[in-house]
Symmetry: D2
Subunit: 381 residues, 4 copies
C-alpha cells in the first residue's frame, strides 16, 4: 500500500477486517507499506499491521511478494503508480478521483484494459457504492421499483473549511488534488448517481466558487486536512470551494448536483434523492444505515417514504455483520470494497468500479470545469 | 357556549369555520356566549363572533334560541351545566375530561342516555381523535393492518410547568381540575389509545409525582395557564405534575403511559405508538400531519416505517381542505369535531365520543389514582 | 375578491379569520365576490361568506363599497385587474406570480408606485414569507446569527403531475399561467430565498424540462388543477414541468434552485437551506412548524441543528394563536398576510412584498427562461 | 475468550481493532479461544484470529499465557467462570447481564473486590455506555447541563421475536438466560439510565408479559438466536417477552422503562430520554451517531432539540477514528470497552462498569421480577 494518512488507515482496517467476516477465496496479507519518511512509515506500519515498509513506491512494484498495490496518495501520483503497477502485473486498488485530468485517466484506463487481458485487474475506490443503503438503492432501481428515473438531486455537504482560518492543505492545492470540492466529494456524488440510476450523465452546466482564497500555512488539522507547511505565512487556495451543476442523463432524467465544504453544520451529508415514475429514493450519509423509499404503487392512503433500516440479513453485505438494527459505520464500505475486489480477482473478472467507469466520472468533472469557465454554457460529456 | 379562554376561542373558531369547508346538514349559529364578568364576556363575544352574551350559564339553558351548549369551563362545573342542559333539551358538547370524579361522570352519562331517548345528544371533546393522522390510525387498525395489538406506548409530554417559577393556575388546583397532568393531558392519551386500538384498558399500575409543590400566585401566563389571583404570595399545587402507568388491555395487549408538563423541550408531544402482529403505527403531535406506519407484510428488503403525509384527498377530513402536502393545524381537530357532532345530531344518533365513552376514560383516571395511592398495586378498571 | 377556486377559498378564510385572532386597526368586511358564472359565484359566496356577487370584475372597481380588491385569478388577468383597481383607488392584494411577463409586472409596479402616492397600496401574495418559521428565519438572518450568507439551496418539490394521466389544467397552459413549475412554485422559492437572506439574485444559469407533453383534457382533478375542458381528447402542455437553476446573489452567496411537480412522494416539500459564516438554517414546509437552526458559535461538543418548534409566544405571529406546540397549518400564512396588509394600509405605508419586490422575482423568472433557451448560458438579472 | 457466537465474534473484533486506533499501554494478544466443540472452536479461532483453542474453559484459567478471560457465554455460566478466573489471578471481562440471579452476582462482586486488592480486575460488558453519544450524554449531565434530573424514559425495542414462528433459542430458556427481554435488553437500559444520570434506581413497579409461550425447536435463526435443538417439536418459552416498569431514582427523578422484542418494525431501538430542570437529552440507537440535546438556557426564540452529530474530534472516542460526520457502527462500543479496560488494568484501578455496578443492575432486575409477581406492588431495590 502506498500512503498512510486517513485513507491509508482506513484501507488497512478494511484489509485486516474483511477476511474475519467474509469468506474470501483468497487470503489477503498486509505485506508492505510504502511512504517517503522512513521513520513515519515504520511507525504507521506497526500501528496498522503491515509486515514491512519501503520508502519508494517503486520498490513495491518490483517486489515479488506484492500481488496488489493499494494507492492511497493524492491524485497527482495516481497515474504513474497505477500504470507502473499494472504493467508489472500487480492488481491495483486506486483511491478516487482516478486522476487529476482526463488525459491521465485515459492512460490509466488503457493500462487497466491491457492488464485485464493478462488477468491483472484494477478498481477505483468509490467506496460509497458499498454502503449497504446505496447498494440497496441500486438494487431497487435494477428491480424496476422506481420505473423511469426523472430527477436526481445529489448534495455532498461538509463544513470543515467553513472557518476561514482553517489551515491550508494539499486538498486545496490544485497541483496535488486536481480540483477542490468537485473532485474530492463531488466525484462521489457523480459516481453514486450514475451507479444507483444506472444512467450516464450526458451534459452539464456548472458554476464553481472559491469563498476563501488564502489560508494560513501552519497549524495542525484534525481530520481531512493535514498542514501543508511548517509555519507562518499563508498559502493560495487554487481550487473550488464549492461546485454546483445541472445535468442531463441518458434517457431523459435531469439532475442537480452540489458539493461544498462550507455548509456550516453539515458534517458529511452525502445526500442522494432519485424520483422515478414508480418510486423514489432518498439517502443521507449522516444516517448511513437508512434508506428512504417511496413506493408509488402503494395506495395513497398509506403511501409515504419508508425508512428502511438497512441492516437485515437480506440486505447487501449486512448479513455478515451484526443482527438487524445494529448499525454499521463508515469503514464498512471499505471492507466491502476489499471483499468484492478479492472476489473479482479470484473470479478472473474486472471489478466495478473499473478504471473505465472512473474515467467516465473524470469526464464529467472535466465538463463541469469547462462549463464553469465558459459562463455556465452547456457542455456535453 | 360557556367559557371564553383558550378553549373558548378554539371552539368558536371551529363553529365559525366548519360550515365554510364542510357541507353540514344543519347551519350552526353562534348565538350566546356566557361568562361571569359582563365586560369581559362582551369583549370576547365581539372578538369571537357571538351575537349575544349572558353572565350566568343558567340563562343559556333557559333561552329558546339556544339548541346546543358547548362547555369550555374547568372540570368542576361540567356535571352541573351538562346535566341541566341535557334536561332542558339542549345538545351538549363538553370539554374533556368529562368530570372531576367517576361519580359526576356517571351522573352525566345517565343524563346523556336519558336525553338521547328524546333525540338530545351529548359529546365529549376528545378532539385529538379527529386529527386526521389519528383518525387514519384508527382506520388502519379497523382494516386489520396491524393484526392483533400487542404493545401501546403513549406519552404526552409538555414543558410549560418545568420552570418552578411559572405561576399557579386553576389547572394545578385539584378542586378545579380534578387532577393534574393525568386528567389534563393523560386523559387524551387514554382516549386516543382506546380509540385507535379499539380495545379497552382493563387494569393499571401507576405512579404519580409532584415536582413543584408551591408556585407564585401572581403574574400573567401566556398559554395554558392564567393567573390564579392578583399578586403576591404562593399557592399550593394540589395535583400531580406527572403520571406514569402500565396498563393491560382486553385482548392481551399491554401499554405504557406517561403524562407530564415537565419534559423540558417537548412542547406538545402527544405520542402514540402501537405494535401489532402485522404492523405498527407511530404518531407525534409535534408532526401532526404525519403518521408512521410499518407494514409487516412487506418483504424485509424494503420494510420500514413509512411517513404518511396525511393530507391526501383520501385521508380522513383532509379532502375538504387544501391540496396534498399543505398541512393542517391544531384547530382542525376541533372543526372536525363540530362537523361530526352536527352530522350526528342531524342523523339522530349519539356522537362519539359519547359520555359513556368519556366515562370509561374517567374510570381509568380513577384507577390510576387508586393504584398510585396504594403503592402502585394493580387496579382493575 | 376576484376568483373563488382553491386560492379564493383560502383568501376568504384569511379575511374572515384575521380579525378574530389579531387586533386589527381596520375591520375587513367580505363585501363582493366576482366570478364569470353567476350561479357558481353565488354558491361560492354563500359558502365562503361574501355578502354580494358580481359577474364582471370591472364592477368591483366601480363599486363604492369596495375598498380593496383581492385578485385570485390565473396570472394572465393580474395586470389588467390590478392596474384598473389601483387607478380606481382600491387597495390591491394580488396572488403570485405578479404577472406572466416582466412587461406586465413593470406596468403593475408603476401603477402601484403611483397609487402609493395617493395612499392606495398594493401587495403581492407570497404567503410563504408569513409561515412563522420562515419569518423567524428572516429575523435570525437580520440579527446576524448566520453571519455572511454563502450558500442557498431551495427546492420546491411536489408530485401531483407525476402521473402522466393526470388531466390538463390551466396551470399547464402557457397563455394562462405564464410558465409551469417555475412560476407556480419556483417563484415562491425565489421570493423566500431573497426575503430570508435579504440578498438579491444577480444572475442565473438554468435548465427547464417538460416530461409529459400531452395530457387528457377531461376528468376532474382534486387539488391544484381543475379540468381544462369538457371531455375527450388531449391538450398540449406548453410549460416547463421542472426548473433547475444556479444563482449568484449580491454579496457573493451562491444558490441552487429546483422546482418540480414530478418528485414522486414529495407532496409540498418547499425546502430552504441557508449556510452562512456563523450559522445555518433549514426549513421544509412538510414540517412547517419547525425551523432547523445551526448556531456555529456553540462549541463543537454540543453544536448541532436545533429543531425549533416555532409556536412559542415570542415567535412571529404565533402568540396570537394556540399554546406552544399546538401547530399551525398552511392557511395561517394567508391570515398573517391579511393582518400585515391591513396594518400597512392603516399605517399609510407600502406593504411587503410590494409590487416592486414581486417585479424583482419576475425578472429572475425571466432570466431563468432566457438562460434555459440559450444553452444554460449565464443571464444577468 | 470463552464463547464464539455473535458476542464472541464482536469481542474478537474489538480486541483485534483497539490497538490499531488507540495508543494502548498494554498490547493485547488473542491467545486462546475456548468452546465445547473442538472442530467448531478451531474453525472459529481461525476466522476470528485466535492463536490456540481449548474445549474446556477451565484450561484457560490454568494456562500461564492467559492474562485476561473474556466471557461471552450465556448467563448461567458467568459466575462459575468469572470467579474461577479471578481467583486464578486472571482479569475478567464478562458479558451482561452479570449473572442469572442476585445471589450469583453477589458472589461475583465479592470475588472481584477480593481480586482487585491483588491488582486483578473485573469489568462487566455494558457496551452501550461506550457508544460516543451516550458517553457524551453522561458528560453533559456531569457538567450540569441538565440541572436536576426529573424524568427518565427508556425503551429498548426490537422485533425479532414478533413472528410467533421464530424458533426457540437459549435466550428464551430461563435456565440459560435468567430472564427474557428484561435481562437481555432491559438490563442495558437500566445500566444506561443509571450511568447517564449518575442516579440509582431506588424502587420499581413492574409488569412482565409473555406473548408467545411455545415455539418450534428446529430451524436456523439468523441473528440473535440460534436453534436450541435439532428439529421437530416445540419448546416452552420460560421467560418474559416484554418488561415494563416504573422507577424512582435517588434524588426525586422518576422513570419509565420498557423492553420488548415484539415491537414490530423497531430493529434495535434502544432509546433514552432524560429531562432535567435545565436541559434534556434524547438518544435512539437506530441513529447511534446522534444525540439530541435541548439546552433550556437558550432563549425561547431559538431553543430546540439539537441533533449533535457525535463524530467530532472533541467527542468521546471519536477523535481516534474518522473525520467528523463519518459515522461509527455498533462494534465501536466494544472496541472502546477494550480500550478502557486495558487502560484501567495498566493503571491498576477497577474499570467501570465494575461487578459492583453490574450487581446494582442485577438488583433492579430482581426487584422488577418481584414486583411483577406481586401484582405490580412497589419493590425497593
Amino acid at each position: 500500500m502506498v500512503g498512510y494518512a486517513f485513507m491509508g488507515a482506513m484501507h488497512s482496517h478494511a484489509w485486516r477486517t474483511a477476511p474475519r467476516f467474509f469468506d474470501l477465496p483468497l487470503h489477503p496479507e498486509l505485506a508492505v507499506l510504502a511512504g517517503r519518511d522512513a521513520t513515519a512509515v515504520k511507525a504507521a506500519a506497526d500501528t496498522m499491521g503491515w509486515q514491512d515498509t519501503e520508502t519508494d513506491w517503486r520498490s513495491l512494484v518490483e517486489r515479488d511478494d506484492v500481488d496488489l498495490i493499494d494507492i492511497c496518495t493524492p491524485g497527482d501520483t495516481h497515474a504513474e503508480i497505477a500504470i507502473a503497477a499494472l504493467e508489472a502485473g500487480k492488481h491495483v486498488l486506486c483511491e478516487k478521483p482516478l486522476a487529476n485530468s482526463v488525459q491521465e485517466a485515459e492512460r490509466m484506463a488503457v493500462a487497466a484494459r491491457d492488464a485485464a487481458e493478462k488477468g491483472v485487474f484494477a478498481m477505483c475506490g468509490f467506496s460509497y457504492r458499498r454502503t449497504p443503503a446505496l447498494t440497496l438503492a441500486r438494487r431497487l432501481v435494477e428491480q424496476g421499483r422506481l420505473g423511469t428515473v426523472r430527477h436526481v438531486r445529489a448534495q455532498y455537504l461538509q463544513d470543515w473549511l467553513s472557518d476561514a482560518k482553517a489551515p491550508m492543505t494539499w486538498r486545496l492545492d490544485r497541483t496535488k488534488s486536481g480540483s477542490g470540492a468537485l473532485g474530492d466529494i463531488g466525484a462521489h456524488s457523480i459516481d453514486a448517481a450514475q451507479y444507483v440510476t444506472g444512467l450516464e450523465i450526458s451534459g452539464v452546466s456548472a458554476l464553481l466558487n472559491t469563498f476563501v482564497h488564502e489560508r494560513p500555512l501552519s497549524g495542525t488539522r484534525v481530520g481531512l486536512g493535514g498542514s501543508g507547511a511548517d509555519d507562518g505565512g499563508t498559502g493560495q487556495v487554487t481550487v473550488d470551494d464549492a461546485a454546483i451543476f445541472s445535468a442531463r442523463f441518458d434517457g431523459g432524467a435531469i439532475g442537480v448536483f452540489e458539493a461544498t465544504r462550507f455548509a456550516l453544520g453539515r458534517k458529511n451529508s452525502m445526500r442522494l434523492e432519485v424520483n422515478g415514475t414508480l418510486g423514489s429514493l432518498a439517502f443521507d450519509f449522516e444516517n448511513m444505515n437508512s434508506l428512504e423509499f417511496y413506493d408509488g404503487t402503494v395506495p395513497a392512503e398509506t403511501a409515504g417514504f419508508s425508512t428502511i433500516n438497512v441492516t437485515e440479513p437480506d440486505h447487501p453485505y449486512t448479513g455478515n455483520w451484526w443482527p438487524a438494527g445494529h448499525g454499521l459505520g463508515y469503514e464498512h464500505g471499505f471492507t466491502h470494497q476489499v471483499v468484492d475486489l478479492v472476489q473479482a480477482i479470484a473470479d478472473g473478472r474486472t471489478p466495478s468500479p473499473s478504471f473505465d467507469e472512473a474515467l467516465r466520472v473524470q469526464r464529467v468533472l472535466h465538463a463541469v470545469e469547462q462549463s464553469a469557465s465558459s459562463d455556465s454554457g452547456w457542455q456535453h460529456v
